[in-house]
Symmetry: C2
Subunit: 338 residues, 2 copies
């Protein structure tokens, strides 16, 4: 119910995903039944695996997430989480209010044992590659341990889902030296050094788009600002490019001749191919797709969610988080005994 | 002594600035005399207003700023600050270690009465305009009052030096509502509402490049990361553009026909025209130019520093900070009395 383009686009994306993957056994459309039926394409679902689960309420962008999730028990996001919680579904994809999805996952799914806070990971494209930014807006006031756990979870996501063999993990800070940063990052650095991940230390803003790092951890305040600033700048540069290239006929001709170059850049820097942002650390696979996602992006998000299930992402996270906690508490014990 | 391209470029920039502005009475080149003389252009200074002040030491990028400023008493940055402190110079331009410049300004110039912390303001270009980002890396752990004072100082800089009539001031946060943010921004919001500036509330990353805001305040940790991330993304997009436009002869021809468009974009998004980042809140005008600054950028920085003097930037800051402090403490008294 949460997308900018209405139910029809979501249904079409879901149909594409089902057509591409015969192993999906069922796909539930959770929301207002009347709206969903009204938005059905000609010929109905055209796939017996598609089902509607009615929910009479919707979380809006104005709702306070935690309070709304508690109050609107018949909202589509709460009902969808219950399907996952009850084992009727393995994964959930939503285009709605990010805070609401996060709150619903926290209350209805709960966190994987050992995980202190869930996080939202965003995959940000770069000219040569991409990197995972975690947390990108859910956990505003982080503790050092949260960043350490993000390092573990982000590393697993990068390896299992994005296919990066030995992901380089960095803490986003204001200098590469261990001594540079704020209280949070200085403490997190000490923890991350002890983890069984490929920790490369601090990374700066300058490192982000140079293929220096695969997983960037930070608190949700910083992550959200970096994510949105970069999105905003990329859009601004595209619009400036368009304005300048259409300023006179000579430039227009040049732009026409080089149009495949611009298309390639747009494709390269398009976050839609990654299918949305995974919420990591919960007892269930949850993906937040962009509110403006269209058919292709929704199909991608569904594809990514099935991959997360097949790779047993959450099983691996549970195992590695337990190992990380063991390492860190063993270290702490040594320090105390010394 | 701190630039990437050596003394020669700095001297040439200084000569250009002197030629453009006959009202400058003296320009001191502070640094190693032998190196400066060796880098002189043919014909020497060609201007009697140019003088050399010898300094035997240099702050390097590896120095810990505060300690190095205390220890290296004969470093060029310390000697240059002394010229300002002693009234021999009105303004200082440096290409060196930002932390070192900030520490030297703190120790040798001191802060304007009433200013709790100095800050570094960066002017960031956008497709249609620019905005001032403050603090962009000096004050890592900020208090709410620091952000409020940045709102005042940034607003003055935007009006007096950048010519913005009624600068819109925003706090960088993760949502526009007053309730969105971290502890620091929530408290700073309450203070900024009471100031005599055009405070528009919180701004998000999405607002930065859309001409929604003229002065963006944040702590130095966030500011530095946003600044560097955006610089990095802009460079990455230029290099991607170049790669794609040279990929085959058709695109190359197109790029040639549209080359003025790319030139216009580069010029529009080039931070060098702003002449560097002012350090605000100190008893003296201080500008940090980019380490990679060339002649034109150095001349710009000198021009901006003379404008800051002529507009009595620091006099206005002193007056407005005193007024702001009065307003905020009067409010506090009312609250206490109630």
């Amino acid at each position: 119910m949460g997308g900018d383009h209405g139910c029809g686009v979501v249904i079409e994306g879901a149909i594409q995903a089902l057509q591409a993957d015969k192993r999906i056994r069922a796909l539930y459309l959770v929301g207002d039944r009347a709206q969903i039926h009204a938005a059905l394409p000609r010929g109905g679902f055209r796939d017996h695996r598609m089902r509607v689960v009615h929910a009479s309420e919707v979380l809006t962008m104005d709702d306070k997430p935690a309070a709304a999730v508690r109050k609107k028990k018949d909202s589509s996001i709460v009902r969808a989480m219950e399907l996952v919680h009850d084992g009727k579904a393995d994964a959930l994809v939503s285009l709605g209010n990010t805070g609401g999805i996060f709150a619903a996952a926290t209350f209805r799914l709960g966190r994987i044992a050992g995980v202190d806070r869930g996080g939202i990971a965003t995959i940000i494209p770069t000219p040569d590659q991409h990197f995972v930014l975690l947390d990108s807006g859910a956990n505003i006031e982080c503790k050092p341990m949260h960043l350490a756990q993000y390092a573990v979870m982000g590393s697993i996501y990068s390896r299992e889902i994005l296919g990066c063999q030995n992901p380089r993990v960095g803490i986003l800070s204001i200098g590469t030296e261990e001594s540079k940063g704020n209280e949070l990052t200085l403490q997190a650095f000490k923890l991350c050094k002890r983890l069984d991940v490929n920790f490369i230390g601090n990374v700066e803003g300058h490192d982000l788009f140079k293929n220096h790092v695969d997983v960037v951890v930070c608190d949700g305040f910083v992550g959200n600002i970096v994510l949105k600033s970069c999105e905003s700048l990329a859009l601004a540069m595209f619009s400036l490019l368009k304005r300048e290239l259409t300023a006179n006929p000579g430039r227009q001709l040049g732009a026409l001749l080089a149009k495949n170059a611009f298309r390639a850049i747009r494709r390269r820097m398009d976050p839609e191919v990654y299918g949305g942002a995974p919420l990591l650390g919960f007892n269930g696979v949850v993906l937040k797709a962009h509110g403006s996602a269209r058919e292709r992006a929704i199909a991608s998000a569904i594809r990514v969610s099935t991959e997360s299930i097949r790779h047993d992402l959450n099983g691996i996270i549970a195992e590695q988080i337990a190992r990380a906690d063991e390492r860190l508490s063993a270290e702490a014990a040594v320090v105390t005994a010394a």
